[in-house]
Amino acid sequence: MSKSRFASLSLAVLFVAGAVSAQTDPGVQSASRGTGATIIDPSNDPNGFTAFFNDGLNRFQEVETVSNSANTGLGPRFNSNQCSSCHAQPAVGGSGAAVNPQFLLISSGVAPSDTMPSFITANGPTLEARAPFFLNSSGAANTKAPNGGVEDLFTVTGRSDAGSCSLAQPNFNAYLAANDLIFRIPTPVFGAGLIENLDDSTLLANQATNLTNTLGIAGTFNRSGNDGTITRFGWKAQNKSLHIFAGEAYNVEMGVSNELFPQDRPLPEEEQAAGLPSNCLNLTGTGYPEDTSNPTQTTNAAVLDDVSAFANFMRFLAPPPTSSVVLNGSQVPASSIATGSALFSSIGCATCHNPSPGMTQVSNFAPALSNVQVNAFSDLEIHNMGTRLADNVSQGSAGGDQFRTAPLWGLGQRIFLLHDGRTTDLYTAIEDHKSSKSEATTVINNFNKLTTAQQQDLLDFLRSL
C-alpha cells in the first residue's frame, strides 16, 4: 500500500470512528437544583400547612427504635429504621443514595445479630426484597403458590431494646438458589401531592386519546379494590393515596404498626405458619398500633400520628426542578436538551411518559396544589413491560410484568434506575424497556433508528429533568 493511500485510509477510519462514537449518559447531575423544598408558598398559606410540611419533614428523618425512646415501634422485622435513610437522593423524599445505609445496619448495632444479605452492598441500590413464589419443603420454587410479599431484610434480634425476641432472617440464599427473589428500590415522592390531586377523569381521558398511537401501546389502570377508583402510588400504582402509601411503608419497611396497618407484620411464610412468636409482639410495650394520633400522650386532640405527618410531608414536597446538564465537565447546550425533548415525544416515549398528564383539582390543603400542571412525565397507567422487566409479583390488578409508568421528573439526579435499580446507566435502562410482551418495544425500535447524536440529545434531555 502506498503511503498516501494508507494515510487516506487512516483518515477514513478515524472519521468513521468519530461518527459512531457512542452516546453517553451524562450521569447523575450533582449541582443543587433546590430539590426537596416545599411547594407551599409561605406567603400564601391560608390554612397554615407549611408547619405541617416541616413537622412531616422532621418525623420523616426520625430514627426509630424498638422501645424505650421517643420514637418507638421498629420491627420486629424491617428494612431500615428511618424513612429518609431510603428516600434520600438527592434530598429527603428522594430515592436511594450512593452509599447504601442498609449496609451499615448490622455494624452499627441496629440489627446486631443479623447477617448481611449478599445482594446488599456498600454502594449498591437500597433495596426491598420480595419472593414471587413460596418455596416448597425441598427448597424449590412452587410456581403454583404465588407469594410476592416483602421479605424484610433485618430483625431486632439481639438488640437491647427488643427483649427476648429472636427471629431468623428470611432464607435469602434459598430464594436466590431458586431464582425466586426480586428487588424494588424506593420511589421518590417529590411532587407526590400533585399526582394525588389529579382527578380520575383527567387520566381516563388521556388514556382514551392515547389510543391514537401507532405504536401498539394500550395501558390500563390499577384500581382500588374498595371503591374502584384509580390508584397511583408505588411501582405498580397499587396505593390509592399518600396516607395509604405512608401507612404501608411504615408497617412493611420499618415494622411500625399504625392506624392504617394496625398489626405487626410477619413474613409471608411466617404468616402461613404460626405467625410472629409471642415474645416478638408488643415489643414497644404500649399495645397496638404503635403509631397513633396523639403520639406525645397529651390532651391536645389535634396532634397527628406519624403516618399523617409523613403524608403531609410528601404531599407538600415540590416537584423536582429541571436544570441544565453537565456532561464530561462541560455544560450541554440548551439546544441539545430542546432537541432531546422533541425527540422524546417524536419517537413515542411521551405516549406513556406523558410530560403533563393534566391539571390538578382545587385543593383543600394549599393554593399551591390547586390548578397546577403536573409535569410528571407519566400517564399513571400500568403497562405490560415484558419479560426483561417482569418480576412476577402481582399487586392489585397489576400482573407480573405490569408497572406504573415511572414519573421521570427528577430523573437527572437519580442514581439507580428501573424498579430494581439494576443499572445506573440511562441508555441501558432505555434498552431494557424492549423485550417480549413489552408495550415499549416499538418505541425502543424507534430510539434505535436515531443517530448517535440524536440519542445523545435524548439522554441529555432526560438528565435535565
Binding site: 410476592g148 425466586d180 422533541a342 415525544s345 412476577n392
Partner: protein, 341 residues
C-alpha cells in the same frame, strides 16, 4: 413523500424486492392465550425472563377456533389464521420480540418485525402489525379509513402529515394509506390499514428512508388476504362468520343468565362470541380478562340463547361483541352513519 407513490401503488401488484442486506431469519415463536402455569408441576428454579403471574390476559373457550392474537412469524412468513393473512417477509426479516397481550380496549400487537439485530440502526426499517377490535375501540371510528383519519386529526404537534388518508390498492385490496413524519427525529411512518372481521388491521412501517418505505409498501403486495376485506368494509362472511357489533342486544337474546363474579374487579372485559346457526354460542374469546372473570362469564354465556342470525334468508353464523365489567372512557360519539355492520 414522493408524490408519484400512490400511482405506483395502484399500478404495481407484484411483489418488489427489498434492497437490504441479507442474513438468516429467526423465528419469534407462537403466542399463547392460555396461562400455561396452571397445571405446571413445581420446578426447582423460577425460569428467567418468563411471565408466570399474569394480570388480565386473553383466553378462549377452545383451542381450535382461531383467535386474533395467535399470529405467528415462522420460516420468514407472518400469518394470522383468524384474519386470513399470510405475508412472506422481506428476506431475513424476523420477529425478535413478541407483542404485549391484547388490551381491554381491544388492541392487539400481532407482530413486530424488522431486520436482524446486526442491521438495526438509523438505516433500517421496521414493521408493526396491529389490530384494533372495532367493537370495543373508544375512538369515534367505525372502520379502518375512519380510524386513520381520526389518527391523522389527532397527531401530536411534533409530527407533520406527509400524505393524508386515502384509498390505495395493496394486494389487490382497498387499503387506507396515511403517512406522517417527525422533522426532528427524521423518521417517517407509513400506515396502511384495512378492515377484516370488524377489526382494523394496521401495518405501520417506520424508517428514516422513504425509498426503503416505498419498497416495503410494494412488498406488501405479496400478502394474501381474505377476498371481502377493504378499508371501509370487512365484515366477515364467506368461510368465516359474519361480524356485527350489536347482535347481543335485548331483542336478539332469547335466554340470558348474568355471570356471578366471585371477586369484585373494575376492569372492562371485552368478549367476542360466535353464535351458531341455531342461536347457541359456539366460541367465546376473552380479549382481556382475569381467569375468574373468564370462568364466571363462560358459565353464564353457555346458557345464553339467541335468535338465529339470518343472511340472505338463511340462518348463518354470526360473530359479535359483548362488554362485561366496567365500560371504558369514550372520547366522543361515533360519526353519524358509521355503524360497523
Amino acid at each position: 413523500m414522493n408524490p408519484r407513490l400512490p400511482y405506483c401503488l395502484l399500478l404495481v401488484v407484484l411483489s418488489a424486492s427489498v434492497a437490504e442486506s441479507q442474513a438468516p431469519s429467526l423465528d419469534s415463536g407462537s403466542k399463547t392465550s392460555v396461562d400455561s402455569s396452571v397445571n405446571r408441576p413445581s420446578i426447582t428454579k423460577v425460569p428467567a425472563e418468563t411471565i408466570l403471574v399474569k394480570g388480565a390476559w386473553s383466553s378462549a373457550s377452545d383451542s381450535v377456533t382461531a383467535v386474533p392474537e395467535a399470529a405467528t412469524v415462522a420460516q420468514n412468513v407472518f400469518s394470522d389464521p383468524y384474519f386470513g393473512i399470510s405475508y412472506t417477509l422481506p428476506q431475513d426479516w424476523t420477529q425478535k420480540y413478541e407483542g404485549p397481550p391484547s388490551s381491554e380496549s381491544g388492541r392487539y400487537v400481532l407482530a413486530q418485525i424488522g431486520p436482524p439485530k446486526t442491521r438495526e440502526g438509523p438505516t433500517s426499517a421496521s414493521m408493526l402489525i396491529t389490530a384494533q377490535d372495532m367493537f370495543f375501540t373508544p375512538l369515534p371510528a367505525a372502520n379502518a379509513l375512519e380510524l386513520t383519519e381520526y389518527i391523522k386529526d389527532h397527531l401530536q404537534a411534533d409530527y407533520k402529515v406527509e400524505a393524508p388518508p386515502r384509498l390505495i390498492k395493496i394486494a389487490d385490496r382497498s387499503f387506507s394509506f396515511f403517512a406522517y413524519w417527525s422533522p426532528v427525529a427524521e423518521l417517517h411512518w407509513y400506515v396502511l390499514a384495512v378492515q377484516i372481521r370488524c377489526h382494523t388491521v394496521q401495518f405501520v412501517l417506520t424508517s428514516r428512508d422513504t425509498k426503503l418505505l416505498e419498497r416495503l409498501m410494494l412488498d406488501l403486495n405479496k400478502m394474501k388476504l381474505p377476498a371481502e376485506v377493504s378499508a371501509t368494509t370487512g365484515d366477515g362472511g364467506g368461510p368465516v362468520a359474519v361480524c356485527t357489533k350489536d347482535y347481543a342486544r335485548d331483542e336478539n337474546v332469547i335466554a340470558r343468565v348474568d355471570p356471578v363474579f366471585t371477586e369484585h374487579r373494575f376492569n372492562p372485559v371485552p368478549v367476542r362470541i360466535i353464535i351458531d346457526k341455531q342461536g347457541k354460542i359456539k366460541h367465546i374469546h376473552f380479549i382481556s380478562a382475569f381467569p375468574d372473570q373468564a370462568k364466571a362469564i363462560s358459565d353464564a354465556l353457555e346458557q345464553w340463547k339467541f335468535k338465529p342470525y339470518v343472511s340472505d334468508g338463511k340462518p348463518a353464523e354470526v360473530e359479535t361483541g359483548i362488554l362485561f365489567g366496567r365500560a371504558p372512557h369514550i372520547t366522543a360519539p361515533h360519526a353519524a352513519g358509521s355503524a360497523v355492520h
